[in-house]
């Protein structure tokens, strides 16, 4: 068969292959690592490269408007609950692109960063498991399957957060992370059980077509939003996030950013798709709840970030503040969804929020990689003991400047493009929201300028005489992300028209999502 047939075959089976390839790679990695360390590293990078190419292949087809489904089980769609369905629409493909880019960069970074540690075969196995779990969470169309992949991701990431078992704080951070994750996941399972009891269906599309907004549905909505928001780091349930992000190895923190955003994707999938037909029946707007949670998250994240003295904890609080922007943008879209005069505003807000998901993953990821590079070179984590490093580590300084400008929303980086969309569209809803968003952007700039001064500027300290630049693989990883940030910043229109707008349309148009599974569904936007 020729190449076109092969590509069609891969495209047809890609939702299953995208989850199966890292999973199989995770099980083969301990065997290969008995041979040689370099062979194992190359094998992991090749596995993730294959997964990345499959994701890009699937995304290039999904962004033109087709929704791909993949059925594990009985093909006859009339029988209920005897299959698991993977349903990939544009929003799922968008999140899958983010996850796989973060995993690939993290593995390239950890080639040199983790070289002197022992137990690296377990490290790479857990990273591949975490990637498989994240991709499964984003591609699935079945609620119980979502819960299973959520647990796979949280177990493997808790073990990776506690990877440096010789440090007391790392193990404690891993314990806190697994306790909080498990409580959240058990409440998600409780809501899934409530859905099953009422509608005899576990499939997201079937529940969306049959939902009436009964009292039990309202309880399930509250539980799902609270538990998934806790996993996504929304204030005031965010306190596990600085502990877990701050004490994990830096390459693991990069993938942890991806998992928190996959949980945020879960919130949006619940609010827009499963409750799509029923949100109109509620007189209390769920959108306003998301907007208020976003505002509190932004303010508190930035306020806590100013007084921190530990490098990675500070960046973690900055990451918490950025989650507020995403909630603000998409919450605004949910609020104005019913108002026919403001649909342009709503669509612009949703595009800003969704574009900000990708920008935030890249920006905050680059800052964490720089923090890891400084830890690798100087073995110091506290900002009080650093100073004058720009003379020794030139490339790292340039990458930190790019990350600083991008996170605080300065032109011409990609942060400015998405934040401009959020500022202008939330201004139409209520001017105070826009003012608070701009204020916290300015405070984020203040926070990171403080870090830049303490760590990089200043006189050359005598104890850092022998500090050299970090090895090449870490520079390649940081350079890859910086290049993507600059490209997204210089050509935002290209990205927004081709990648972000299909995702925003797919999220609002829940009727199309349901019609893939139940062709006779009427209703929906």
């Amino acid at each position: 068969m020729n190449v076109a047939d092969l590509i069609d075959l891969l495209l047809q089976h890609s939702p299953a292959l995208i989850v199966a390839v890292p999973l199989l790679g995770a099980f083969i990695t301990p065997l290969i690592s008995r041979l040689n360390d370099k062979v194992r590293n190359i094998f992991v990078i090749l596995t993730l490269g294959l997964t990345a190419s499959l994701v890009f292949l699937l995304a290039s087809d999904v962004f033109t408007g087709n929704i791909h489904t993949y059925i594990f089980g009985s093909q006859d769609l009339a029988l209920p609950v005897v299959r698991i369905l993977f349903e990939v629409d544009a929003m799922s493909a968008f999140m899958a692109i983010i996850s796989v880019i973060l995993s690939l960069v993290a593995v390239i970074y950890s080639w040199s960063f983790m070289k002197e540690n022992t137990g690296l075969d377990k490290y790479y196995t857990l990273i591949l498991l975490m990637t498989a779990g994240m991709l499964g969470m984003e591609l699935t169309g079945d609620l119980f399957n979502f819960f299973v992949f959520l647990e796979i991701t949280s177990i493997s990431s808790a073990a990776l957060v506690a990877f440096w078992t010789n440090k007391a704080k790392s193990v404690e951070a891993g314990f806190k992370y697994i306790v909080i994750s498990t409580i959240g996941a058990l409440f998600i399972l409780f809501s899934v059980a409530m859905f099953y009891g009422q509608y005899n269906a576990l499939n997201m599309a079937m529940i969306a077509s049959a939902i009436q907004y009964t009292f039990l549905d309202k309880i399930a909505l509250v539980l799902l939003i609270a538990a998934l928001a806790m996993k996504a780091g929304v204030v005031p349930m965010h306190m596990w996030l600085p502990d877990a992000y701050g004490k994990a190895p830096s390459s693991v923190t990069l993938i942890l950013v991806g998992t928190t955003q996959a949980s945020l994707y879960g919130v949006f999938r619940v609010c827009f798709t499963i409750y799509g037909g029923a949100i109109n029946l509620s007189s209390i707007s769920v959108g306003w709840i998301l907007v208020i949670l976003g505002i509190i998250t932004m303010l508190l994240g930035v306020a806590m970030a100013i007084i921190q003295t530990d490098f990675k904890r500070l960046i973690a609080f900055g990451a918490v503040a950025e989650i507020g922007y995403m909630l603000l943008g998409i919450g605004t879209g949910l609020v104005v969804m019913l108002n026919p005069e403001m649909t342009a505003t709503g669509l612009a807000a949703m595009k800003g929020g969704i574009f900000h998901i990708m920008n935030d993953a890249l920006d905050v990821g680059l800052l964490f990689l720089v923090a890891g590079a400084i830890y690798y070179a100087t073995k110091e984590t506290s900002l009080n003991k650093l100073g004058g490093l720009a003379r020794n580590m030139k490339y790292t300084t340039v990458f930190f400047i790019i990350g600083l400008l991008a996170v605080s929303g300065m032109p011409p980086m990609n942060g400015f493009a998405s934040k401009l969309l959020i500022y202008e569209s939330t201004y139409q809803l209520n001017p105070i929201l826009s003012i608070i968003a701009i204020l916290s952007s300015i405070m984020l700039l203040a926070v990171f300028v403080k870090v830049f001064h303490s760590a990089f500027l200043g006189p050359a300290l005598p104890k850092f005489e022998n500090v050299k630049e970090v090895p090449k693989s870490m520079l390649i990883a940081m350079g890859a992300i910086a290049t993507i940030i600059i490209i997204f910043g210089l050509f935002p229109e290209l990205i927004i028209n081709n990648i972000v707008e299909p995702a925003a349309n797919a999220l609002v148009n829940y009727g199309g999502y349901v019609r893939e599974v139940i062709p006779s569904f009427t209703g929906g936007v």
């Binding site: 806190k176 806790m230 349930m237 032109p411 202008e424 927004i496």
Partner: protein
């Protein structure tokens, strides 16, 4: 390979527009003007005399460790004047995992009250 036109488009938000290429060109022009103005200055200086030592208004220069401002002391004025905000925030972040679960239950209760009881009240009105 692909058309130049989509690369140079401005993107429209609902109420404005933003074109990064024009911004970059403007910054490069401003940078060139700054470099040309710098070139009009005096290029010569004597090394190793008083012209290259740092001047601290006549104060003596201590060793490097003490001269660098530590990160806890930057923004001292800001954090000191808003001390009530930052102290209550620091007390909230205890590090105790039971408190994290307590915040989860509190947020769940507040959402419950807002969504469910609020709906009954609004429906009654």
């Amino acid at each position: 390979m692909f058309a130049l036109e989509p690369l140079l488009e401005t993107f429209q938000t609902g109420s404005g527009f933003w074109n990064p290429i024009i911004w970059v060109v403007a910054i490069i022009v401003a940078f060139l003007i700054a470099v040309i103005l710098r070139g009009f200055g005096n290029k010569e200086y004597k090394k190793k005399t008083g012209q290259t030592q740092s001047f601290l208004s006549g104060n003596p220069e201590y060793e490097k460790e003490q001269m660098h401002i530590k990160s806890s002391n930057i923004y001292w004025g800001f954090t000191e004047s808003l001390k009530w905000v930052f102290d209550s925030l620091k007390k909230m972040h205890t590090g105790n995992v039971s408190d994290y679960a307590l915040w989860f239950v509190i947020v769940m209760a507040i959402l419950f009250i807002v969504l469910i009881m609020g709906e009954n009240l609004v429906g009654a009105i």
